[in-house]
C-alpha cells in the first residue's frame, strides 16, 4: 500500500507542478467557452446570408401591393413598365424576380422566383413564409376581417411542459435543459477519459522507453506501479476538474450579477414595446432558472462522480496495459482505435437514441454495458433514472474495472520488460495466460 502511495504522490506532484497543467487549468475554461460561443455564433449568425435582397414582384395585384415594402433582408419593388427585368437580373442589379401569377391565393404552386444565384435554404424558407402570411391576410380581408382584427388575433409564446411527481407536486420541466445537462456531462466524461487515459498510457510508455521501469519494478510490484499511476493521474484530473468548476462558478456568478443589474436598469425604462420584450425575456429566463433549479441535483452529482471515476478507471487500466506493451508512439494507434470504439459509439448512441427516448430499451441496455455506461448514464440521469438501475450499472462497471485491472496488470508486468518487436493482440493473450 505504501508503495502505491509513493508512486501516486510522484505522478501527482510531477504533473501538478508542470507549467502546462497550471496554464491549462486557467485557460481551458476560457478556451472551451470561446469554442462553444464561437460555434454557436457561427451556426446562428455567421453562416446566415445577411445581404439585402432586391426582388422585383409581378402578378397578383393585391399580393404585390401588400408586399411592396421591405421585410427582413428583402426589399420588394414593383418594377416600372419599361424596366428590362431580364437584363437587370443578368447584370445582377437585382437578386430575384418573383412572379405571383396565381389567381387563387390559397394555392401558390405556380408562383415562381427567378434568380441568377440560388438563395440559401433559410432565405428561401423565410421568403416563402412571408408570402404565405401575406396571402392569408389578403384572404382574410376578402372575407371581411380587418387588418386590426388580424393583428390582435395572432397567438404568441410557447407551451410549457410541467412534470408531476409521485406526491402530485408539479414542476417546471425543460427537455432542452435536461438534454443539455446530460450531453455536457457525457462530453466531459468522454474528454476526461481520453485526456487522462492517454496521460496514463504515455506515463507507462515514458517509463519504458526511458528504461526507468526495470529499476522501479525491482522495488515495487508492477501491479502497484500501475495502480499508483492510474490513481495519481485520476487525482490530477479531479484537481483540474474542481478548479474548472470553481472558476466557472465564479464566472457564472459574475455574469449573473451583471445581467441582474442590466435587468434592474431596464425596469426604469419608459413604457415602450422594448420594455415589454425585456420583461418577456426575463420571464423566460426565470422559467429556465426554475427548470435548472428543479433538476435532481443530488442524483446527478452522485451519478456523475460514480461514472466519471468508474469510466476513467476502466479505460485507463486498458490504456496503461497498451502503454506498457508498445515501444514507440506510432505503435499505439492500432491498439487505441479498437479500445476507444465503444466510447465513440457511446457518444453516438447518447446523441441519437437517448434524446428520442431517454428511458427506452436501447438506452437501458447500453447504460448497463460497462464500456458505454459512463456516458449513457450521465445523459439519462437528468431525465430521472431509478436508483436500482444506477446501482446495478455502477456495480457492473466497478466489477469490470477490477477484472480489467487484473488482466491489464498481467499484460503490464510482462509488457514493461519487453523490448524490440512490436506487440500483437496474440502476444497480449499469451501474456495474460502466463
Amino acid at each position: 500500500m505504501k508503495n502505491i502511495w509513493v508512486i501516486l504522490k510522484r505522478e501527482y506532484t510531477v504533473r501538478v507542478k508542470n507549467k502546462t497543467f497550471v496554464i491549462m487549468t486557467f485557460l481551458a475554461p476560457i478556451l472551451i467557452g470561446l469554442f462553444y460561443g464561437g460555434s454557436i455564433y457561427f451556426a446562428t449568425k455567421g453562416a446566415e446570408d445577411n445581404t439585402l435582397k432586391k426582388i422585383y414582384i409581378e402578378g397578383n395585384q393585391a399580393l404585390c401591393k401588400s408586399m411592396d415594402k421591405s421585410f427582413d433582408n428583402f426589399s420588394f419593388i414593383i418594377p416600372q413598365k419599361n424596366t428590362n427585368i431580364e437584363k437587370e437580373l443578368s447584370e445582377e442589379k437585382i437578386d430575384g424576380w418573383l412572379i405571383l401569377n396565381d389567381l387563387d391565393l390559397r394555392f401558390l404552386d405556380s408562383s415562381q422566383l427567378i434568380v441568377k444565384n440560388s438563395f440559401s435554404l433559410n432565405t428561401k424558407s423565410s421568403l416563402n413564409t412571408f408570402i404565405k402570411t401575406q396571402a392569408t391576410k389578403i384572404l382574410l380581408q376578402s372575407k371581411g376581417i380587418t387588418q386590426a382584427t388580424i393583428d390582435s388575433s395572432e397567438a404568441l409564446g410557447n407551451i410549457s411542459m410541467v412534470e408531476e411527481n409521485e406526491l402530485g407536486e408539479k414542476q417546471q420541466s425543460s427537455t432542452e435543459i435536461k438534454s443539455a445537462v446530460g450531453l455536457v456531462m457525457s462530453l466531459v466524461i468522454y474528454m476526461f477519459i481520453f485526456i487522462y487515459g492517454s496521460m496514463v498510457m504515455r506515463s507507462a510508455m515514458e517509463e519504458k522507453t526511458n528504461r526507468i521501469v526495470e529499476v522501479i519494478v525491482s522495488s515495487v510490484k508492477p501491479f502497484e506501479l500501475m495502480l499508483g499511476k492510474i490513481l495519481g493521474v485520476a487525482l490530477v484530473g479531479l484537481t483540474q476538474f474542481m478548479a474548472w468548476i470553481l472558476l466557472s462558478f465564479t464566472l457564472v456568478l459574475g455574469i449573473g450579477k451583471y445581467f441582474n443589474i442590466a435587468l434592474e436598469n431596464s425596469k426604469n425604462l419608459p413604457n415602450t414595446g422594448g420594455k415589454q420584450e425585456i420583461i418577456q425575456s426575463a420571464m423566460d429566463q426565470s422559467n429556465i432558472l426554475e427548470s435548472i433549479g428543479q433538476l435532481p441535483y443530488a442524483q446527478i452529482i452522485t451519478v456523475f462522480f460514480i461514472f466519471f471515476l468508474g469510466g476513467y478507471l476502466l479505460y485507463s487500466s486498458v490504456f496503461a496495459a497498451i502503454g506498457s506493451a508498445v515501444n514507440q508512439e506510432t505503435d499505439v494507434q492500432q491498439f487505441m482505435f479498437p479500445v476507444s470504439m465503444p466510447l465513440i459509439f457511446g457518444i453516438i448512441i447518447a446523441q441519437s437514441v437517448v434524446f428520442q427516448s431517454p428511458n427506452g430499451e436501447l438506452a437501458k441496455i447500453f447504460s448497463m454495458i460497462p464500456f458505454t455506461s459512463p456516458i449513457l448514464m450521465c445523459v439519462r440521469v437528468p431525465f430521472g433514472v431509478s436508483w436500482t438501475e444506477i446501482f446495478t450499472s455502477a456495480l457492473i462497471l466497478y466489477t469490470t474495472f477490477f477484472l480489467m485491472v487484473w488482466l491489464s496488470a498481467k499484460i503490464y508486468r510482462i509488457g514493461i520488460l519487453m523490448y524490440g518487436k512490436k506487440p500483437t493482440w496474440k502476444d497480449f493473450a499469451k501474456w495474460i495466460r502466463q
Binding site: N3, N210, R211, I212, V215, V220
Partner: protein, 305 residues
Amino acid sequence: MNSYISVENVYKYFDDKCVSNNISLEIPQGEIFGLLGPNGAGKTTLIRMLATITQPDKGTIYINGEALSEKHIKQIGYMPEERGLYKKMSVVDQLLFFAELKGYSRNQAKEEVKFWMNKLEIVDWAPKKMEELSKGMAQKIQFISTILHKPKFLILDEPFSGFDPVNADMVKDLIIELKNQGTTILFSTHRMDNIEELCNHLAIIHQGEKILDGKINEIRQQFFNREYALEFIENENIEYDHNEFSLIQSQINNFGRREFTIQLKENQAPRDLLNHYAKYNNMIGFKEKIPTIHQIFVNKVTSKK
C-alpha cells in the same frame, strides 16, 4: 564458504525456450562475484530472478538462508544494464522518490540523500532536472539511487558503461568500499579486466547454462597448461636450439623482443627450461603463462559452440 545467495537448480522458460537451464550458484557473503556470458546467454534473466522482478519456473533462490521473496526487496539494490531516470524530475526529488520506494520515511530519505550528495560532492546539482545533466552525471545519480538504502545484496549490470575513466574509478572505489562494509555484490559485465580487478569469484553462463564457476585464482590455475614465455633481445644472428622442448609460438612482442611460448612436457620442470635457455645471454625474461579470464572465457564459449 558462507554463501549469502544460493541459486539451486533454477529453470526459466520463455515460451518453449529454456533461458535458464538448471543453474546453481553460490555467492559468498561480502564478496564481489563476477557473472560473465556472451550476449543472449541468459544473464539478464538470471539477474531479474535475483532482483525478484521475475520468479524461476523451477528451483529456488535463497538469500541468507531464506527463500527469496518480495519481502527481501529492501535488502536488494539493482542497477540494470538498461537504465534511466525521470528526465523532468529534479535530482533531489528523484533520489527521494527512490529512497521512499525502498521503504524510507520522508525524513530518513532526506538524511540519506543529503549524506550521499555531500559524499559525492554533487550538492549543487540538487535542483537540476535530469535532462540538464551529462550522461556521466546521470550515471552517478543512478548509482546513488541504487545504493541509497544500504542494500545487503547489490546487483550491478555493466555498472561502468557510460562512465569516463575518472568517474569509473570513483565508482570502482565505492564498490570496493561497500564490499569492505560487508555488502555482497553480483557484478555482471563483458569487461574481463574489471572482473579480474574486482572479483574473487566468477561464473560463466552460456546458452542458458552455467559452464564454469569458482574462485578466479583456482580457475586460472585449472586452465594453466604448463606454458611459459621466454623473452630475448632480438638478434637475428642467433640460432636457437629448441630440440628438447615443444615450441608453441615464436613472435616479436609489443616491445620488439623475441618471445617464445613453450609448453613443458610431463617430465620437464620450469628449472630445466631456464637452464637450457640461460646460455643465450640476450635472455631477459621468463614467466608462467597463466591464462587470463578473457582467454578462458573465449575458450569456453567457442568450444561450446
